[in-house]
Symmetry: T
Subunit: 69 residues, 12 copies
Amino acid sequence: MPDGVYKRIEIIGTSPNSWEDAVENAVEKASETLDDLRVCEVDKLDTRIEDDEVVAYRARVKLSFKYQG
Amino acid sequence: MPDGVYKRIEIIGTSPNSWEDAVENAVEKASETLDDLRVCEVDKLDTRIEDDEVVAYRARVKLSFKYQG
Amino acid sequence: MPDGVYKRIEIIGTSPNSWEDAVENAVEKASETLDDLRVCEVDKLDTRIEDDEVVAYRARVKLSFKYQG
Amino acid sequence: MPDGVYKRIEIIGTSPNSWEDAVENAVEKASETLDDLRVCEVDKLDTRIEDDEVVAYRARVKLSFKYQG
Amino acid sequence: MPDGVYKRIEIIGTSPNSWEDAVENAVEKASETLDDLRVCEVDKLDTRIEDDEVVAYRARVKLSFKYQG
Amino acid sequence: MPDGVYKRIEIIGTSPNSWEDAVENAVEKASETLDDLRVCEVDKLDTRIEDDEVVAYRARVKLSFKYQG
Amino acid sequence: MPDGVYKRIEIIGTSPNSWEDAVENAVEKASETLDDLRVCEVDKLDTRIEDDEVVAYRARVKLSFKYQG
Amino acid sequence: MPDGVYKRIEIIGTSPNSWEDAVENAVEKASETLDDLRVCEVDKLDTRIEDDEVVAYRARVKLSFKYQG
Amino acid sequence: MPDGVYKRIEIIGTSPNSWEDAVENAVEKASETLDDLRVCEVDKLDTRIEDDEVVAYRARVKLSFKYQG
Amino acid sequence: MPDGVYKRIEIIGTSPNSWEDAVENAVEKASETLDDLRVCEVDKLDTRIEDDEVVAYRARVKLSFKYQG
Amino acid sequence: MPDGVYKRIEIIGTSPNSWEDAVENAVEKASETLDDLRVCEVDKLDTRIEDDEVVAYRARVKLSFKYQG
Amino acid sequence: MPDGVYKRIEIIGTSPNSWEDAVENAVEKASETLDDLRVCEVDKLDTRIEDDEVVAYRARVKLSFKYQG
């Protein structure tokens, strides 16, 4: 992360397959509007359950990017 | 919280009456621009004091909503 | 912090000189678009290293300001 | 808490009115089957939101009671 | 909090009615001997239980005031 | 999670394949006796090692369900 | 801890002599109904005081055992 | 802890023999000036080492007592 | 820290120049009435902001000293 | 973990595929020089991002082994 | 701890008798190769159980010593 | 941090001048034997006091480097 001012936000990605996939969905969505993403830190992992089955993996992550104000 | 990507932000609501009221003010203000709010997690509670009297209850909360980018 | 609803965000300031300077850079950048900043809480301090030398001091801080939605 | 062995469990009470009420509901339900409850520690507070309105206050609490095995 | 040196202490207020009331009792008692109290941060909430009923709400809070030594 | 009183317990699932699989095993076992499971929060991840090889992935999770007493 | 699903509970043991003794009391009581106990993790230590004397050592511990549902 | 306002302070007891003894020294010293002590919570344990030998056990504890102002 | 019983308190020092200076102000003020200070642990750093400028650096520190009761 | 003295170190494994794979790489590398590894606790998970794509999964883990000095 | 650069490592001592003994074993082993040990901070306490009996007390501690590189 | 396996250690730097200087001393000493240092995370800051004066600033930091085994 070169010098300058950065902002850090909290995103929650989900996927029916895995936590890796959930993080990739979060990064993909964020990168539509944010540039120069470098590291994605996992803050919390959980799953959604329906009818006694795990139906979604959720990853709450922190993303840093150049601060535009 | 159905699948998709969500964003989580930190809001501080205040009220002269109670922490419940402070949270409701935060949710009310946030819902003016954010859709599909489902859960509001309390992160920290404090009060403002003036002339030895509690004059405001403040609740710092975390809100999740569908991520628009 | 008078009554009303506030938002709290996470900014990372950097400086080659000191952590105080890094925080000032963060506050200066944030104040270009945010009003009524009052307190800046330090969440984490680290440094960037190149060729065995500390080249940048980084301060991750939390800033509160009036919530516009 | 006199000598002996105690068990500590996690209960979540809810109420449309207040967190105090949510805790009372949790204690009332637990005391139907548990004896000698003395202290109820709040672990986490949150609210459920529907149509931009807070509809329930939830209190996650820890309760200790004599351990029956 | 203007410049100078401040001390921060931990007080536990209680009330049969609510946590807001418990905090007010703590602030009221503290302000008998401490000046210029401004913010009261909640550190922990619990309740005392007797005969399966919540009989007291307790709030453990942190108070800052000008340090007299 | 609709209103009412819920209990939250800690389960450790294991699997030779992945942490997702370990969580599914935990949910499957728990759902044999618990109803209406909705969210499974990951508290800690570790692995068991034998002869320098990872032989099991373990996920410690928290599960909430309607409190029967 | 071989594969399979385990449950983890919180027990508080007490003793007038020492924290080691308090933990042994907790393990002894738990093992009356739980099998295959392997590790007991200390979560919190405190003491009970009467007439300015320490009268009991209390150890809050976490115990894991095979989950029966 | 009956109703009223309590203060909570941090004391460090030491002993060449054990952590239990260190806590007893802390309680004994505190009770010279503080009344109605009931619970002493352990916050941190460490030891002092001299010439590769443990020479003192130190227990940092939290004590609550009736708040006199 | 030789044997005996010590007390640990929380002080907040401020300075317009730096966090080091803020800590020195706290130590200087505390040492007016407390003896044998040895270590000062930083608990939290923040800054006060006025008109978009950092005007004060604040350091919340923990100080231990011989307990006089 | 039989009796004796153990050392605990912090290793970061990486992999382009998954966190499980990252942990296996860490364990494999560590076991080249360390014996009798039994449990690997996950401390933190993150990912490296390049050109808006997750390119590496990183797992920071704690490993215990017999202490040789 | 005089000036200079120090390293801090994590050691786990065990003993069939007590946590004090477990810490002494850890310090004794470490001091075979490390000089000038001064403080040993307890990070975590647990016990090993066999056939429903506590058979070993384990103390995970942090030790600081002059850094040799 | 490119792919591969890294080790993370805890170092304490000291300086009579500032925490920045203390971190630089730690990095300088570590880089005598460790290659490719990139980020130095601050874990804890404190000061040493003699005769009521701050005589040393101490920074406990975490350093990552390529793992050689």
